[in-house]
Protein backbone atom coordinates (compact mmCIF):
# COMPACT_ATOMS: atom_id res chain seq x y z
CA UNK A 1 0.00 0.00 0.00
CA UNK A 2 1.44 3.37 -1.02
CA UNK A 3 1.46 5.74 1.94
CA UNK A 4 0.95 9.47 1.71
CA UNK A 5 3.89 11.28 3.27
CA UNK A 6 2.78 14.85 2.57
CA UNK A 7 0.46 15.69 5.44
CA UNK A 8 0.19 19.33 4.32
CA UNK A 9 -2.48 18.08 1.91
CA UNK A 10 -4.74 16.95 4.72
CA UNK A 11 -3.73 18.74 7.95
CA UNK A 12 -4.04 22.44 8.75
CA UNK A 13 -3.97 24.86 11.67
CA UNK A 14 -7.23 23.50 13.06
CA UNK A 15 -5.62 20.13 13.72
CA UNK A 16 -2.70 21.43 15.76
CA UNK A 17 -2.28 20.03 19.28
CA UNK A 18 -5.11 17.58 18.62
CA UNK A 19 -5.32 13.88 18.02
CA UNK A 20 -6.15 12.93 14.46
CA UNK A 21 -7.06 9.56 13.03
CA UNK A 22 -5.63 9.01 9.57
CA UNK A 23 -6.70 6.44 7.01
CA UNK A 24 -4.30 3.46 6.76
CA UNK A 25 -2.55 5.01 3.74
CA UNK A 26 -2.49 8.38 5.58
CA UNK A 27 -4.25 10.18 2.73
CA UNK A 28 -7.41 11.18 4.65
CA UNK A 29 -8.33 12.49 8.07
CA UNK A 30 -10.96 10.17 9.52
CA UNK A 31 -11.52 12.22 12.65
CA UNK A 32 -10.08 14.77 15.06
CA UNK A 33 -10.44 15.25 18.81
CA UNK A 34 -8.73 16.54 21.94
CA UNK A 35 -9.25 13.10 23.45
CA UNK A 36 -7.73 9.95 21.97
CA UNK A 37 -10.24 7.56 23.57
CA UNK A 38 -13.17 9.58 22.25
CA UNK A 39 -11.58 9.73 18.82
CA UNK A 40 -10.97 5.99 18.75
CA UNK A 41 -14.61 5.30 19.67
CA UNK A 42 -15.87 7.76 17.09
CA UNK A 43 -13.70 6.49 14.26
CA UNK A 44 -14.10 2.81 15.16
CA UNK A 45 -11.56 1.68 12.58
CA UNK A 46 -8.94 -0.83 13.73
CA UNK A 47 -6.59 0.22 10.95
CA UNK A 48 -6.72 3.95 11.65
CA UNK A 49 -3.37 5.60 12.30
CA UNK A 50 -3.34 7.96 15.27
CA UNK A 51 -1.06 10.94 15.54
CA UNK A 52 -0.88 14.08 17.63
CA UNK A 53 -0.31 17.10 15.45
CA UNK A 54 2.54 19.38 16.52
CA UNK A 55 1.96 23.15 16.41
CA UNK A 56 3.49 24.72 13.32
CA UNK A 57 4.89 27.78 15.11
CA UNK A 58 7.21 25.82 17.40
CA UNK A 59 10.63 24.29 16.88
CA UNK A 60 10.78 21.00 18.75
CA UNK A 61 13.43 19.02 20.50
CA UNK A 62 12.68 15.81 22.31
Amino acid sequence: MKKNSDLTKILNKSHEKKWVALSPNRSKVLGVSDNLAELSNKVNNKDAVYMKVLPSDTSFHF
Binding site: K3, S5, D6, L7, T8, L11, N12, K13, K17, W19, L22, P24, R26, N35, L36, A37, S40, K46, D47, A48, V49, Y50, M51, K52, V53, L54, P55, S56, D57, T58, S59, F60, H61, F62
Partner: protein
Protein backbone atom coordinates in the same frame (compact mmCIF):
# COMPACT_ATOMS: atom_id res chain seq x y z
CA UNK B 1 18.81 -8.42 4.60
CA UNK B 2 17.13 -5.82 2.47
CA UNK B 3 16.73 -2.17 3.38
CA UNK B 4 13.16 -0.95 3.55
CA UNK B 5 12.61 2.59 2.35
CA UNK B 6 10.31 5.19 3.91
CA UNK B 7 9.54 8.80 3.08
CA UNK B 8 10.03 11.61 5.56
CA UNK B 9 6.65 12.97 6.65
CA UNK B 10 6.06 16.58 5.64
CA UNK B 11 4.04 18.96 7.83
CA UNK B 12 3.44 22.69 7.88
CA UNK B 13 5.93 24.86 9.76
CA UNK B 14 5.84 28.61 10.26
CA UNK B 15 9.51 28.56 11.16
CA UNK B 16 11.37 27.46 8.09
CA UNK B 17 10.23 27.64 4.54
CA UNK B 18 6.67 26.71 5.41
CA UNK B 19 7.43 23.02 5.80
CA UNK B 20 9.20 20.62 8.10
CA UNK B 21 9.95 16.98 7.32
CA UNK B 22 10.42 14.40 10.04
CA UNK B 23 11.32 10.68 10.05
CA UNK B 24 8.03 9.19 11.21
CA UNK B 25 6.80 5.63 11.08
CA UNK B 26 3.79 3.68 12.23
CA UNK B 27 4.14 1.61 15.37
CA UNK B 28 1.38 -0.92 16.01
CA UNK B 29 0.93 -1.29 19.75
CA UNK B 30 -0.53 -4.69 20.50
CA UNK B 31 -2.79 -4.91 23.53
CA UNK B 32 -4.53 -7.87 25.13
CA UNK B 33 -7.75 -7.19 23.26
CA UNK B 34 -7.03 -4.55 20.65
CA UNK B 35 -4.16 -3.03 18.72
CA UNK B 36 -3.62 0.62 17.89
CA UNK B 37 -1.51 2.36 15.30
CA UNK B 38 0.66 5.09 16.75
CA UNK B 39 2.39 7.36 14.22
CA UNK B 40 5.74 7.96 15.90
CA UNK B 41 8.87 9.99 15.46
CA UNK B 42 12.24 8.26 15.18
CA UNK B 43 14.43 10.14 17.64
CA UNK B 44 18.04 9.13 18.23
CA UNK B 45 18.21 11.49 21.23
CA UNK B 46 15.58 9.58 23.15
CA UNK B 47 16.75 6.72 25.38
CA UNK B 48 13.71 4.50 25.81
CA UNK B 49 10.76 4.35 23.50
CA UNK B 50 8.05 6.64 24.85
CA UNK B 51 4.39 6.56 23.99
CA UNK B 52 1.76 9.14 24.85
CA UNK B 53 -0.07 7.95 27.98
CA UNK B 54 -3.42 8.35 26.21
CA UNK B 55 -2.61 5.04 24.52
CA UNK B 56 -2.26 3.35 27.93
CA UNK B 57 -5.89 4.24 28.58
CA UNK B 58 -6.93 2.69 25.26
CA UNK B 59 -4.97 -0.45 26.03
CA UNK B 60 -6.50 -0.77 29.49
CA UNK B 61 -3.18 -0.38 31.28
CA UNK B 62 -3.64 0.60 34.92
CA UNK B 63 -1.08 3.26 35.76
CA UNK B 64 -1.30 2.51 39.48
CA UNK B 65 0.04 -0.99 38.81
CA UNK B 66 2.98 0.20 36.71
CA UNK B 67 6.53 1.00 37.72
CA UNK B 68 7.16 4.75 37.93
CA UNK B 69 9.95 6.10 35.75
CA UNK B 70 11.67 9.49 35.78
CA UNK B 71 11.84 11.15 32.39
CA UNK B 72 14.23 14.04 31.79
CA UNK B 73 14.71 16.48 28.94
CA UNK B 74 17.19 19.13 27.87
CA UNK B 75 15.49 21.70 30.10
CA UNK B 76 16.61 19.58 33.06
CA UNK B 77 13.00 19.16 34.05
CA UNK B 78 12.12 15.76 35.35
CA UNK B 79 8.67 14.29 34.97
CA UNK B 80 7.16 11.00 35.97
CA UNK B 81 6.15 8.44 33.44
CA UNK B 82 5.17 4.82 33.95
CA UNK B 83 6.47 1.67 32.34
CA UNK B 84 4.51 -1.30 31.13
CA UNK B 85 5.39 -4.33 29.07
CA UNK B 86 3.75 -4.31 25.68
CA UNK B 87 4.16 -5.90 22.28
CA UNK B 88 4.60 -3.86 19.16
CA UNK B 89 5.26 -4.12 15.44
CA UNK B 90 7.08 -1.67 13.20
CA UNK B 91 5.57 -0.66 9.85
CA UNK B 92 6.99 -2.83 7.10
CA UNK B 93 8.03 -5.69 9.40
CA UNK B 94 5.99 -8.65 10.61
CA UNK B 95 8.08 -9.41 13.69
CA UNK B 96 6.57 -8.66 17.09
CA UNK B 97 8.74 -7.14 19.79
CA UNK B 98 8.07 -7.29 23.51
CA UNK B 99 9.44 -4.52 25.66
CA UNK B 100 8.89 -2.16 28.56
CA UNK B 101 7.64 1.07 27.07
CA UNK B 102 7.43 4.32 28.98
CA UNK B 103 4.06 6.03 28.88
CA UNK B 104 4.22 9.77 29.42
CA UNK B 105 1.32 12.16 29.96
CA UNK B 106 0.93 15.34 27.94
CA UNK B 107 3.45 14.45 25.28
CA UNK B 108 3.07 16.80 22.31
CA UNK B 109 3.45 13.86 19.97
CA UNK B 110 2.07 10.31 19.81
CA UNK B 111 5.32 8.43 20.25
CA UNK B 112 9.10 8.65 20.23
CA UNK B 113 11.17 5.72 19.06
CA UNK B 114 14.47 5.80 20.91
CA UNK B 115 17.74 3.97 21.35
CA UNK B 116 16.35 1.09 23.41
CA UNK B 117 14.07 -1.14 21.35
CA UNK B 118 14.29 0.75 18.11
CA UNK B 119 17.87 1.72 17.38
CA UNK B 120 19.10 -1.46 19.07
CA UNK B 121 17.00 -3.62 16.75
CA UNK B 122 17.26 -1.79 13.45
CA UNK B 123 19.99 -0.32 11.33
CA UNK B 124 18.71 3.10 10.35
CA UNK B 125 19.97 5.23 7.51
CA UNK B 126 18.73 8.80 7.25
CA UNK B 127 19.00 10.50 3.88
CA UNK B 128 17.38 13.81 4.64
CA UNK B 129 18.34 15.46 1.38
CA UNK B 130 16.24 12.91 -0.49
CA UNK B 131 13.58 12.98 2.27
CA UNK B 132 13.99 9.24 2.72
CA UNK B 133 15.12 6.96 5.50
CA UNK B 134 15.87 3.26 5.48
CA UNK B 135 15.46 0.46 8.00
CA UNK B 136 17.07 -2.93 8.15
CA UNK B 137 16.37 -5.47 10.87
CA UNK B 138 19.50 -6.09 12.88
CA UNK B 139 19.50 -9.34 14.84
CA UNK B 140 21.94 -9.90 17.69
Amino acid sequence: MEWKVYNYTVEFSELRGGFVSRPMINLTIIGAKKSYNCFSLIDSGTDSTMINADFAELLGIDESKCRKVKVGSVEELTRNGFASEIKFKVEGFEEEFKTNIIFLKDMPTAGLLGQIDFFENFKIRFEKRDKKFYLQREKN
